[in-house]
């Protein structure tokens, strides 16, 4: 033991006070603690540990800045005390600065290497940061110090497991199980532990051992989760040796729950058949077995649905006929969605269309379809009207899905005059109109559905979403507000608190379409905040799950967290925000343009009024009860439970939400470093295997502007692996070639070589960029997206405007398939380049997409919707007298 340094030693009176101070802190008597600290500091103002404790107490009391100041001072004054480092680490952990916190804990451990509290906290930080080598060491030490604590054994096994060392994990578990005495019967904790051990053995490939362990403990009832036993058993048996035993195990599961599709996949895997990748030779026998299973479980649709996938076209018709009639008669709203995957096979699509069209004709005459199979005999004539209705609904979806929107609309109009009270018809009509490019009509249709059932939250959310799609942001907020907390500052604020990704992304997109880029950025950054919370939320589980022995589910949580950022909503937000940042970087005056045109006098007035209202509400809230969250998203709920149950004494150190300094995102918009912000959004995605080409294009756009050519070219390789001919990739390739060729000096040797090599694999031929572009256009002249890509590329290469536009107008040629979205992209490209032919293009599209409204001018729209945006001409205004 090193002697206590002189500056730390306190006389006995103060020494007692200091121990009291620690006690007071532990028991959260903060006021008294502060006084005690002051008492010591009066005599010894330079006492580092006391300064730190006072700082910690102040932080708890909400005086973060002052507290942090004291802690830092304390650390400086006594660099070899474990207490000061521990305190500093606690504060950093509270700020969710896990890297720095771990450094402080490591310092603390240098001066007190066996401190259990510090070791445990360090283990949690190492898990959070996925520093598995260090985690194994920490857990090992913890077990050595306290071998009688069960969770220390599990902790070490888990640490080995996470570090990829299944052999050691297995050894630890075996040793632990041998040491156990007097385990109570039917103990759920012991049960989960044993299942975990089986999992370790299974993952290690020790299948016979895994099976023995499972069977022994299932028999003795030490494993209480029967379903888990059955599933694990079936899975291991299948891996071990497909055959009768495995088959029996899966059969037993199907009998237990015939609606679980994965059991059928398992069953067939035991017969060496992969339901996901059938060969034609497998089909007859598979079909036969499915039929058998279906007869044994007559109440489930699952095997019948699988039969439809498996059946060759020749056998398909009678099967799907039965399935359709049953579904249409029962009025299953999701029938089309259920069958849609079969449409990959064009012949099956045609069979379905022929059958359902046939039903429609017969039902229209008031009769039931003729060849009614016996199994559907329960149908009577009195079911004709509802069956007819569901048939129309199915057909409308079918035709819209296969791009015959007018036919879909006419079927819907028949259906709505037949029965105007079925909300599904109106939402579908909205969807068809949306696909046709009429967001206003779509929004009105979905709102009609909402009015039929005011307590249906699905319809409420859909209606608000369609309003956002139509740019009616304020109205959308009112609709959302019907279901959000009444005392929230605004509906949007509540939805953000509820972590509604749908709301945040849709409203961000709506603002973006209207050019209110600051508001859009604000929402996209809010999405990032939600995901940061998701990531932080796991922290409490590192301790909680070990204590509660919920190991298996905890491991699933960890791997979910590892994939967290690849969520589509995050990718969408990161990409959208990056695109805005890139535009801001390319044209620095854009930010000012947005702000000066964004707020007209009227809007400003509105915004002020809104702000006043929000403030009023805020004040009311303050006056009333303290701010409490009485409703939480499910995840938050679980997290709160874990946090509350954690006997973790460090609560209260976390950052409390501060006032939003930038409610309108103006700082985001005008930030001097748009690329750095974009990069921060994109960087969590770099190491994940993401199949979204827009992401890699965005990564390129940002990286290349930051001068990170290696990252840029790597992004292009990723994109190429996904879709080598993608138009945006083509544009970027030529962009990079031009930029790289014009660098005054190529990057130095290692990087430069890598880039050159990568470029060589990206390029197909040694030819000029111009020729390459021409060749690309010729190869894809029927693809509107590729035409746009070639035009963009030519512009980058400095081609003359009339030539670029000449290529662009090619999308209107009769042989070119022009989707609505691409037409909109071409239009905005023309607008962005201030083309004199913008209007010409708009008019041509307005004619081509005659059912759409997106190519109308604001004036034309105003005439169409002269009764206000929500009452388009084709819906009747309901006015009561």
């Amino acid at each position: 033991m090193t002697p206590t340094p002189a500056k730390r030693a306190l006389p006995s009176k103060e020494s007692t006070l200091f121990r009291e101070l620690l006690n007071l802190y532990e028991t959260r008597q903060l006021k008294k603690g502060q006084k005690t600290a002051d008492q010591i500091l009066k005599k010894f103002p330079e006492h580092g540990e006391t300064l730190c404790m006072k700082g910690l107490i102040l932080t708890h009391m909400g005086k973060r800045e002052e507290g942090l100041e004291l802690v830092k001072k304390g650390v400086r004054l006594d660099l070899t005390s474990h207490i000061v480092w521990h305190v500093f680490g606690l504060i950093q952990k509270g700020e969710k600065n896990y890297e720095e916190a771990l450094k402080s804990y490591t310092q603390a451990l240098r001066f007190d290497k066996d401190n259990l509290n510090i070791l445990r906290d360090a283990a949690h930080l190492q898990t959070q940061l996925r520093l598995h080598d260090g985690l194994v060491d920490t857990r090992f030490l913890l077990l050595k110090l306290r071998p009688n604590l069960r969770q220390n054994w599990i902790g070490l096994a888990l640490a080995y497991h996470l570090n990829g060392n299944l052999t050691e994990a297995n050894k630890v578990l075996e040793q632990y199980e041998r040491s156990l005495k007097n385990v109570p019967d039917y103990d759920p904790e012991q049960s989960d532990l044993l299942l975990y051990h089986v999992r370790v053995l299974e993952e290690r490939g020790d299948l016979p051992e895994a099976l023995t362990l499972l069977d022994t403990n299932a028999k003795s009832r030490a494993i209480v989760d029967r379903v888990a036993v059955m599933e694990t058993r079936a899975r291991i048996l299948s891996k071990q040796e497909p055959g009768t035993d495995a088959e029996q195990a899966w059969r037993a599961l199907i009998e237990r729950n015939p609606d679980n599709t994965s059991y059928y996949y398992g069953f067939f895997s035991s017969k060496n058949t992969d339901l996901g990748a059938l060969t034609d030779a497998d089909r007859p026998n598979t079909l036969h077995l499915l039929r058998e299973l279906s007869l044994q479980n007559p109440r489930t649709l699952t095997p019948k649905r699988l039969e439809l996938t498996v059946a060759p076209v020749g056998d398909f018709k009678p099967l799907v006929n039965m399935y359709l009639l049953q579904g249409l008669n029962k009025g299953i709203p999701s029938l089309f969605v259920d069958l849609k995957p079969l449409y990959h096979d064009n012949q099956k699509l045609a069979v379905v269309e022929e059958l359902v069209e046939g039903y429609r004709q017969v039902l229209e005459e008031g009769r039931l379809p003729d060849e009614f199979p016996d199994a559907v005999a329960a149908i009577s004539d009195s079911d004709v009207p509802t069956m007819y209705l569901w048939t129309l609904y199915f057909l409308a979806q079918h035709f819209s899905h296969t791009n015959r929107h007018s036919r879909a609309l006419s079927l819907l109009s028949t259906a709505i005059s037949h029965t105007p009270t079925l909300p599904e018809l109106h939402t579908l009509r909205g969807r068809v109109l949306k696909r046709l490019g009429d967001p206003y009509g779509a929004s009105a249709a979905v709102n009609e559905a909402r009015l039929l059932d005011g307590q249906d939250r699905f319809l409420n959310t859909k209606s608000a979403k369609y309003k956002l799609r139509a740019g009616l942001v304020e109205e959308a907020s009112d609709i959302f507000g019907l279901f959000t907390k009444k005392d929230a500052v605004s509906p949007g604020a509540d939805l953000e608190e509820m972590q509604s990704l749908l709301y945040l992304t849709e409203e961000g997109d709506a603002h973006r379409r209207q050019g209110k880029l600051h508001h859009a950025l604000k929402k996209y950054h809010a999405v990032r905040k939600v995901f940061e919370e998701f990531e932080d939320d796991q922290f409490d589980f590192h301790g909680y799950s070990l204590r509660k022995f919920t190991i298996n589910i905890y491991l699933n949580l960890l791997s979910w967290e590892d994939q967290l950022w690849s969520h589509p909503a995050y990718i969408h937000s990161a990409v959208s925000a990056s695109q805005i940042y890139v535009r801001l970087f390319d044209s620095p005056s854009l930010a000012n343009d947005v702000l000066s045109t964004g707020l007209s006098a009227e809007e400003e007035k509105k915004a002020k009024k809104k702000a006043r209202k929000a403030q009023q509400k805020q004040e009311e809230l303050k006056k009333g009860k303290p701010f409490t969250v009485n409703r939480r998203s499910p995840l938050k709920h679980a997290v709160a439970a874990a946090a509350a149950a954690a006997s973790n004494e460090d609560k209260g150190l976390e950052l409390t939400p501060t006032k939003d300094e930038d409610p309108d995102g103006i700082k985001l918009l005008t930030s001097p470093e748009p690329l750095e912000r974009a990069w921060k959004l994109l960087s969590p995605l770099l190491r994940l295997p993401i199949n979204n080409i827009d992401l890699w294009i965005s990564i390129y756009d940002v990286a290349v502007r930051r001068g990170k050519y290696l990252q840029a070219v790597r992004a292009l390789s990723h994109a190429k692996a996904l879709d080598a001919d993608h138009p945006e990739l083509h544009v970027r390739y030529l962009h990079f070639q031009k930029l790289y060729g014009s660098l005054p000096l190529p990057p130095p040797a290692p990087v430069g070589t890598v880039i050159s090599n990568a470029m060589a694999t990206l390029a197909t031929d040694e030819m000029s960029s111009e020729a390459y572009n021409v060749q690309y256009l010729q190869r894809h002249s029927g693809n509107a997206g590729a035409v746009l890509g070639a035009a963009k590329a030519l512009q980058i290469l400095g081609g003359p405007r009339d030539e670029v536009e000449g290529i662009l107008f090619g999308v209107l040629n009769p042989g070119v398939d022009l989707p609505l979205k691409t037409a909109l992209d071409v239009w905005s490209f023309l607008k962005d380049t201030s083309s004199p032919r913008v209007n010409e293009f708009r008019l041509a599209c307005d004619e081509k997409f005659n059912l759409s409204t997106v190519f109308k001018t604001p004036d034309e729209l105003a005439v169409m919707y002269s009764q206000g945006p929500d009452t388009p001409i084709n819906t009747r205004a309901e006015i009561d007298d």
Binding site: G331, S380, S382, D383, P385, T386, Y388, L389, H418, T419, P420, T421, L422, L451, L452, D453, G454, Q455, R876, E878, I879, D880, D881
Partner: protein, 170 residues
């Protein structure tokens, strides 16, 4: 006949009116009746005392009709006035209307505080079908009110009435 009735009772269901499903009632009224109903109409049918007599009618879980009454008390008598009753065209002749009026009559007969004495309604004089329908359910013609309808022709209306049994014993 009995089998039809049995299957009807499993297919026809009723829902009380709430501010949330009033939109469905409005939608039905606009297609069923040639009259625009006032906001007062819609607030009256939400009153708690008429909950048993104002219903949305579902067939195979789809709203296909509505029946709405008002409670009138005068001279010590408590009468139900049938404001609206209608089924969407494709769902007529399936017995849904009969089933529904029976349910309402049943509810009226067992209603207490107050006991219901009789139920009455107006039928446009051109609407023979409707008149026969109500007569089949025990309604009797009490007279004709000329110029009952202001905006539609013919403007006369039959008044049909039916006593409620079991209401006079209290």
């Amino acid at each position: 006949m009995t089998s039809t009735k049995k299957s009807l009772s499993s297919k026809v269901t009723f829902a009380s009116l709430t501010p949330n499903n009033l939109g469905t009632v409005r939608k039905l009224n606009t297609v069923l009746f040639p009259i625009k109903y006032s906001e007062q109409f819609y607030s009256e049918i939400l009153l708690p005392e008429v909950e048993d007599f104002c219903k949305l009618i579902y067939y195979n879980d789809i709203p296909v009709g509505t029946i709405c009454c008002r409670l009138e008390s005068k001279d010590n008598a408590n009468n139900l006035y049938l404001l609206t009753m209608g089924i969407l065209a494709p769902y007529r002749s399936l017995g849904i209307g009969s089933y529904s009026i029976d349910v309402i009559l049943q509810a009226a007969a067992t209603h207490s505080k107050p006991n219901i004495d009789c139920i009455y309604l107006h039928v446009q004089v051109s609407n023979d079908g409707a008149k026969h329908f109500y007569e089949r359910h025990g309604f009797k013609e009490k007279g004709i009110e000329e110029a009952y309808y202001k905006k539609i022709k013919p403007s006369g209306a039959w008044i049909l009435e039916r006593q409620i049994e079991g209401s006079n014993d209290g």
